[in-house]
């Protein structure tokens, strides 16, 4: 199994290296190598999943490559194979493969076609590095490498000014999170001399009894570690307040937005917390914090999506909001539900983005939905795919999104987290509203295409859409029961009892959950929002004037827009220039160093006056000194 897992991990890396080697020699070769390597990974991953469940394997952990093996400590790269990592790697490789396939057509006119696949292959490798990791150290490495590939891909169009700004920002914001993650990792490493998951988990009760001193106050060690690690997750999974890089990251090519900034990379944070659930389950205070962060993100950033007009930005905010749901589920210790939503979200959000990509291509890179309309007739397949993805996103009964999202909301309600429950309910309304906004504006209304004979896009772009529709709609129904009853993840996730209890007492089975949902307030809100959206965006039968300050606040994205594009750069420039000019040059260099030499110069200038060059001055000095000396000697005796 370990060798298969190695193939799974390394195939994309080998692909990257081969692509690097062939450079721009042939587009065909690039396509074959990149797609084949991911496909190989995908098949291996499916096969491993099959093996794992059919033969009841136990979780395996192996160290593969020794990083450092000294007298006192040990670091290594390794693989951890269990249901969670295998499920996740299947999701990653499948979405990645479909996006690769889609990109063949989407990127076909790019001059640096090969470079794109180098980056995406490398991304897939780094993501798998996180997913399959068996220790915190490798987790961090993969974490940073996905950050790197995201940086490279957002700035894929190196000539585009806005893209370069966006990727700079994305990398730095992610680095803020990485600081947290690194500190958490180092805390574990320095105190327990190991970074291996299994070893740390077995110590987690001990860690819970330890304290750490910060500014003289002592805190619980486990909470401190979990909190620091979660900061990393906040940045990567775009949670408030470290979310503001994600909307800007839409500057990259659309397939990338689908792969990295919707389906896989941004869910790394969710995956990490779930992976470390044995620790998080013990840290109650941190969990509560996570719950609230998730809820706030889900609700408030969903609102921002309402006022956006760029199709990709809307979906990006929707991604943030959905990630908020997952985070909230993590906070409520419903780890398997979070992973469930992660999986369904990966598919339907990737589908949404790929549809958006098709629309953008069709509309000649017009992204403003106010200028797009009436595409239903021209793009029937895309239309259908988008419809299903949207239904899944808003959680319409029976779709995948329904099972995962309603599951989270109801479970949070079931466990009496009142405020989060209400906020999450409210965000059903916003989710439905902005989804209907895109849907009605883009596919209905007046047609904006110039050429009335436009056809659907190439089949390379359509096939992934069709394939992705299947899991977007049916995955939920398919795995809901085995997941909720705890069979799927088994011991991989802690606190399974919570989910199982919820399942047994509230859900009983997927069909019952489906039927029951029509009677819940969730469905009522959804229908209301749909009706509202239909009349507001499609029929345009009424107009709502929002108070000015609310709309400015939403359009300014709660000030984060100004913060990142105005205040921080100004601060950076002024503050750093001040430090350099005033302190480094003026105080230290001129003040301390050059001033010392200047003072010495002055003194020596004074002293040199004594040397007149006239011999009689010298001799006078000599004689008078001699006389003085003799007098002194005389006085002594």
């Amino acid at each position: 199994m370990i060798y298969l897992a190695l193939i799974l991990l390394l195939a994309p890396l080998v692909g990257t290296l081969l692509l690097l080697y062939i450079q721009n020699r042939s587009k065909r070769l690039s396509v074959i190598i990149s797609n084949f390597s991911i496909l190989l990974s995908f098949f291996v991953s499916i096969y491993l999943l099959f093996l794992y469940f059919n033969y009841n394997y136990l979780p395996e952990t192996h160290d593969v490559l020794i990083f450092a093996d000294t007298k006192l400590y040990y670091l290594a790269f390794g693989l951890y194979i269990d249901s969670l990592s295998l499920m996740m790697s299947t999701v990653v490789t499948s979405v990645s493969f479909l996006v690769h396939y889609y990109s063949i057509s989407y990127m076909k006119n790019e001059s640096s076609f090969n470079r794109f696949f180098v980056y995406t292959n490398f991304f897939t490798f780094s993501m798998l590095l996180i997913v399959l990791s068996n220790n915190f150290f490798q987790l961090f490495i993969g974490w940073e490498l996905v950050g790197l590939s995201s940086y490279l891909l957002i700035g894929f169009w190196t000539k585009k000014e806005s893209a370069i700004k966006a990727n700079y920002k994305a990398f730095l914001v992610n680095r803020v999170g990485d600081i947290g993650l690194l500190l958490g990792l180092c805390l574990i490493f320095v105190n327990y001399s190991t970074t291996n998951y299994a070893e740390v988990f077995s110590l987690s009760n001990t860690i819970n009894n330890h304290d750490i001193e910060i500014f003289g106050t002592s805190f619980n060690m486990l909470s401190a570690i979990c909190l620091l690690l979660f900061v990393g997750a906040m940045a990567k999974s775009a949670q408030v307040p470290l979310h503001f890089w994600l909307p800007d990251s839409m500057e990259g090519p659309t397939p990338i937005s689908a792969l990295i900034h919707a389906a896989t990379m941004v869910t790394a944070g969710i995956y990490m917390v779930a992976r470390l659930s044995p620790m998080y389950a013990l840290a109650d205070d941190v969990s509560l914090f996570i719950l609230y962060i998730g809820t706030i993100t889900a609700f408030f950033l969903g609102l921002v999506a309402l006022v956006q007009n760029d199709i990709k930005r809307i979906i990006a905010y929707s991604t943030i909001s959905q990630l908020g749901y997952m985070t909230a589920a993590l906070g409520a210790s419903l780890y398997s539900l979070a992973i469930f939503h992660l999986m369904t979200h990966a598919f339907f959000k990737a589908l949404l983005f790929l549809c958006a990509g098709s629309i953008i291509v069709k509309c000649h890179h017009e992204q403003d939905i106010r200028n797009i309309g009436g595409l239903r007739k021209f793009m029937p397949i895309t239309y259908m795919a988008f419809l299903y993805a949207s239904l899944s996103l808003i959680g319409f009964p029976l779709t995948s999104g329904f099972y995962s999202k309603e599951g989270i909301i109801d479970a949070i309600g079931y466990y009496d987290y009142t405020i989060p429950y209400l906020m999450l309910l409210a965000s059903i309304f916003t989710t439905t509203l902005y989804t209907s906004k895109i849907f009605f504006k883009v596919f209905f209304g007046e047609c904006t295409l110039h050429d009335k004979n436009e056809k659907e896009n190439d089949k390379e772009m359509l096939i992934p859409l069709i394939i992705l529709t299947a899991p977007s709609v049916f995955l939920g129904l398919f795995i809901f029961d085995i997941l909720m009853s705890g069979e799927l993840f088994g011991s991989a996730l802690a606190s399974n009892a919570l989910v199982i209890d919820f399942y047994n007492n509230y859900v009983t089975n997927s069909l019952h959950f489906f039927l029951h949902s029509f009677l819940t307030v969730n469905f009522l809100i959804l229908v209301l929002a749909l009706i509202f959206g239909y009349y507001y965006y499609y029929k345009k039968s009424f107009n709502i004037s929002v108070p000015k300050f609310v709309s400015t606040m939403l359009e300014g994205e709660y000030g984060f827009n100004n913060l990142s594009s105005k205040y921080i750069p100004i601060f950076q420039n002024l503050f750093t220039k001040y430090l350099w000019k005033k302190i480094d040059i003026l105080t230290i260099d001129n003040g301390l160093i050059n001033n010392t030499s200047a003072i010495l110069d002055k003194i020596s200038n004074k002293v040199r006056k004594f040397h007149t060059g006239f011999i009689y001055h010298y001799s006078l000095t000599i004689i008078s000194a001699l006389i003085l000396l003799l007098l002194i000697v005389r006085m002594q005796y």
Partner: protein, 500 residues
């Protein structure tokens, strides 16, 4: 196993070869290039041989050469290596070989003496890293200044006079203090061997003064904040190869000296002052990173970033003082982190200065605003340079991460706030490194399309070999860990022994 004095050969072969090159001014460029290449290559081979034959599991000094030198004063010609020396010698030989390769495609007036000075420098550097007699160490340490002074002074930029004098006086000032403390120590120990200093019973005040003298002496060399201001000036004026050797190896002499002298000799005073020295290192990491961000000259930016990265080296060393009583494992991690950070910074800064040299060759300007959109014309070079910048910002998988990771780990062993402050480097180093990348590599450049063309073979060889080693040390640094592990633990042990 070795019946020839391998260390002496390593020191004197390049020095004699260098002197020969310096003297024979009329030698043709081709011949001098070949000669330099051959000598540096031989040195590299011998060093590799040395590192293979070095017994990592032993705590003893190895390849010892010890003969009387000045009888009356008990001064010995005493050469030997331990793990730290081996790793630094490997770095020196490797970087000098790269410089020799790089120089082949470059034009300098009076090339043979230019190359000669580099050879002399190489010999002296190896001498500094292998001398175990304090006077011998001091002589090598001091003479390092001369070839570099000449390199910057003769082949430097416009403002080279100011820079060289500043550089020379600054470092000389530090080493005078160092000399005084060495003489004082030897007068008590009645020996000049460094290892004899370790077991001295010094009073606290003596230790304090000696510590401060060493701190200034080595701190200037590293350089630490606030005595760092000579470095940016020297870098800006130095020719590319000069910057490379200065940043990648010469700065390490300071760190090496701290580990060799300060840690074992002045332990008590070090524990007393460790908090303040840690603050100095943190200022170097954070404040200098801010200053680096403000730079508009590429070389200055990298020079400041060197100071910030060397802050990790000093932090790792001073943390040893801080952790001696509480957490020995963390102390070992910190010291190993400092050593690895030295090696890794040697590779990365060399790579960045080479890259800037290549850009400068094309655009004749080092200013950020004059260089942009290079990736349009030099895709391979840009890719490599982006890699180096990422390595500079401590990306995992590159060597830049390993040292920082270990030092931060060690700092968490003492105090989480120190760790947090040190870890901000992750953000700050990324911000200035990528600012450089953003401005220089990316963007659209339609103005001077003629200026840039892809690097020549020699430059590619140099850059690629640096990439390979940066990746190697970033992914499987186990070999390096094996080299230094015993020595580090041995040093920490001997410190603890000396205290009792």
């Amino acid at each position: 196993m070795f019946d020839y004095p391998i260390l002496s050969l390593l020191i004197w072969l390049p020095i004699i070869g260098g002197l020969f090159l310096v003297i024979s001014e009329n030698m043709s460029n081709k011949l001098s290039e070949y000669l330099t290449l051959v000598i540096t290559f031989i040195i590299l081979l011998i060093t590799i041989n040395l590192s293979i034959n070095y017994d990592y599991t032993s705590d003893q000094l190895q390849f010892v050469e010890r003969t009387n030198w000045i009888d009356g004063l008990n001064i010995f010609y005493f050469l030997a290596v331990d793990g730290i020396s081996v790793s630094l010698i490997l770095l020196t030989a490797f970087i000098n070989f790269l410089i020799a390769i790089y120089a082949v495609s470059e034009k300098y007036r009076n090339k043979s003496s230019f190359l000669g000075y580099f050879l002399i420098l190489e010999g002296l550097l190896i001498g500094t890293f292998t001398a175990f007699d304090s006077i011998l160490f001091y002589i090598f340490f001091e003479s390092l200044l001369i070839p570099l002074f000449l390199i910057i002074g003769i082949w430097g930029g416009e403002n080279r006079k100011y820079a060289t004098i500043k550089f020379f006086l600054y470092t000389l000032f530090g080493s005078v203090l160092m000399l005084i403390s060495i003489i004082y120590l030897s007068s008590i120990a009645e020996s000049f061997a460094i290892r004899d200093f370790y077991s001295l019973n010094l009073s606290f005040n003596e230790e304090l003064f000696i510590l401060i003298a060493f701190l200034i002496g080595f701190g200037i060399k590293i350089p630490m904040w606030p005595v760092h201001t000579w470095l940016p000036d020297a870098h800006v004026e130095a020719p590319t190869s000069g910057s490379v050797i200065l940043a990648s190896v010469l700065l390490k002499v300071g760190g090496y000296g701290m580990i060799r002298f300060m840690l074992p000799i002045t332990t008590e005073a070090g524990i007393f002052l460790s908090e303040y020295m840690i603050y100095l290192s943190l200022i170097a990491i954070i404040y200098i990173s801010f200053v680096a961000y403000a730079q508009d000259d590429m070389k200055k930016l990298i020079a400041y970033s060197s100071v910030a990265h060397m802050g990790f080296v000093t932090l790792g060393i001073f943390l040893v003082f801080h952790l001696l009583d509480s957490n020995l494992t963390a102390a070992v991690i910190g010291l190993e982190g400092a050593i690895i950070q030295m090696i890794s910074h040697g590779l990365i800064s060399a790579a960045l200065f080479f890259s800037i040299g290549i850009i400068y060759k094309h655009s004749k300007s080092r200013l950020l605003k004059d260089n942009y959109g290079i990736s349009m014309y030099m895709p391979i070079f840009s890719f490599l340079m982006l890699f180096f910048l990422m390595a500079n910002s401590g990306l995992p998988g590159t060597s830049g991460f390993v040292g920082e990771f270990l030092v931060i780990t060690s700092s968490l062993g003492s105090n989480i706030i120190i760790g947090l402050l040190a870890a901000t480097s992750l953000l700050l180093s990324a911000s200035y490194s990528l600012k450089l990348g953003k401005n220089v590599l990316f963007g659209e450049n339609i103005k001077n399309t003629q200026g840039y063309n892809e690097c020549n073979t020699n430059e590619i060889i140099v850059l690629i070999s640096l990439v390979i080693f940066i990746l190697y040390l970033g992914l499987t640094p186990d070999y390096l860990f094996q080299i230094i592990d015993h020595t580090t633990i041995n040093i920490i042990d001997s410190i603890n022994l000396g205290r009792r």
